[in-house]
């Protein structure tokens, strides 16, 4: 069975060929953010964990959704818990249950503050 990592190299090569681009074309299009030698290693599976910022450059260049490449790379997957576009900065790790509580708490303080602002008016 193939894994996301094995698929990524084939997927990226396929995207480049569909766009009728050479390795050097991609290097130019990304303003050297993705060098031709780096992309070659990526497409041949010699590099298996490219940085997300490289994948974002490639998604932009190939005109595909960034999340598609992130999913194939195994960096994103179907969600177990909803995050609502919120990034938490904690002094220690937090559990999924704590994240859910934090989101509820955030909604609660928003609605409380909104109510008090409306009352002031």
């Amino acid at each position: 069975m193939s894994t996301g990592k094995e698929n990524l190299s084939l997927y990226l090569k396929e995207l480049r060929l569909i766009n009728n681009m050479t390795l050097r074309d991609v290097e130019e299009a990304t303003k050297k953010a993705v060098s031709n030698s780096y992309l070659s290693q990526l497409e041949t599976g010699q590099i298996t964990k490219p940085s997300p910022h490289i994948l974002q450059e490639l998604a932009k260049t190939y005109g595909v959704p960034y999340e598609d490449i992130m999913v194939v790379a195994g960096y994103m997957k179907a969600a177990n818990t909803k995050r609502g576009g919120v990034v938490f900065y904690n002094r220690q790790d937090i559990t999924d249950e704590e994240k859910a509580t934090l989101l509820n708490y955030l909604q609660f303080i928003r609605s409380t503050k909104l109510k008090s602002k409306n009352n002031e008016k």
């Binding site: 179907a78 937090i94 559990t95």
Partner: protein, 230 residues
């Protein structure tokens, strides 16, 4: 020893530095000391909501817990652990206002990193509908990137390193420089040791009151062979 919270591959660090430089230019703040943090936050199209105390508003937490206790006993430990957060779609930053002024500066810049780095902002926008989530390793990488973003912005890329080179090697140097850069002594000392041209090593014994954190931090210049103090 405390887990590493900032290591990046060279290409990842270069990418962070180039985005910090873009933001410093955009905010017309390149070389300005201390870094005008609020100006940077605004230039990143973000804003700090000063209305929310967030963490230490105990009345609010009590109201919250009493309201949802009827449904399920909530775990409020997560709230107590929170230093700040960024709601990416609205660009709103909330921070724990009871933190020290210099710590708040770092938190704002850390959150600005999440909101300004395009490959991160897009991911968090995608995650808003709740269908996809990040792999934990990538989530950790994004935290490292945000820490580096904050440090590079606070210390104005290589400006700190250049200034430090003109001072005598001493623990007093990062303390003096922290005042110029508006950083905490901790952040300044860490930066000093990690970027100095001479091989330096620093061990920091963490405050004992927070028993859940391991006590040792160790930072070295790249030329210093890493030693495991654990």
């Amino acid at each position: 020893m405390k887990n590493d919270d900032s290591s990046l591959l060279p290409d990842q660090l270069d990418n962070i530095k180039s985005h910090v430089q873009k933001l410093l230019y955009k905010a017309d703040a390149l070389g300005e000391l201390p870094t005008p943090v609020d100006q940077l936050v605004r230039s990143a199209n973000l804003h700090v909501n000063e209305d929310f105390v967030l963490v230490n508003d105990y009345k609010m937490i009590r109201n919250f817990t009493s309201r949802i206790e009827k449904v399920a006993r909530p775990s409020i430990h997560g709230i107590k652990k929170l230093l700040g957060l960024l709601h990416v779609p609205s660009g709103e930053i909330l921070i724990d206002h009871l933190q020290h002024k210099n710590k708040k500066t770092f938190i704002k810049l850390h959150e600005a990193g999440h909101g300004f780095l395009p490959h991160q902002r897009l991911v968090y926008e995608i995650m808003e509908d709740g269908e996809l989530e990040l792999d934990p390793d990538i989530e950790e990488l994004f935290e490292h990137e945000a820490n580096n973003f904050a440090s590079e912005a606070l210390f104005q890329l290589d400006k700190y390193e250049k200034m430090a080179a003109d001072y005598t090697i001493s623990i007093k140097t990062p303390i003096d420089l922290s005042k110029k850069f508006g950083s905490s002594v901790y952040a300044s000392t860490r930066r000093y040791v990690q970027t100095h041209f001479s091989p330096l090593a620093l061990g920091i014994y963490n405050k004992i009151e927070d028993v859940s954190l391991a006590p040792w931090f160790c930072f070295t210049t790249s030329s210093y062979a890493f030693s495991d103090f654990s």
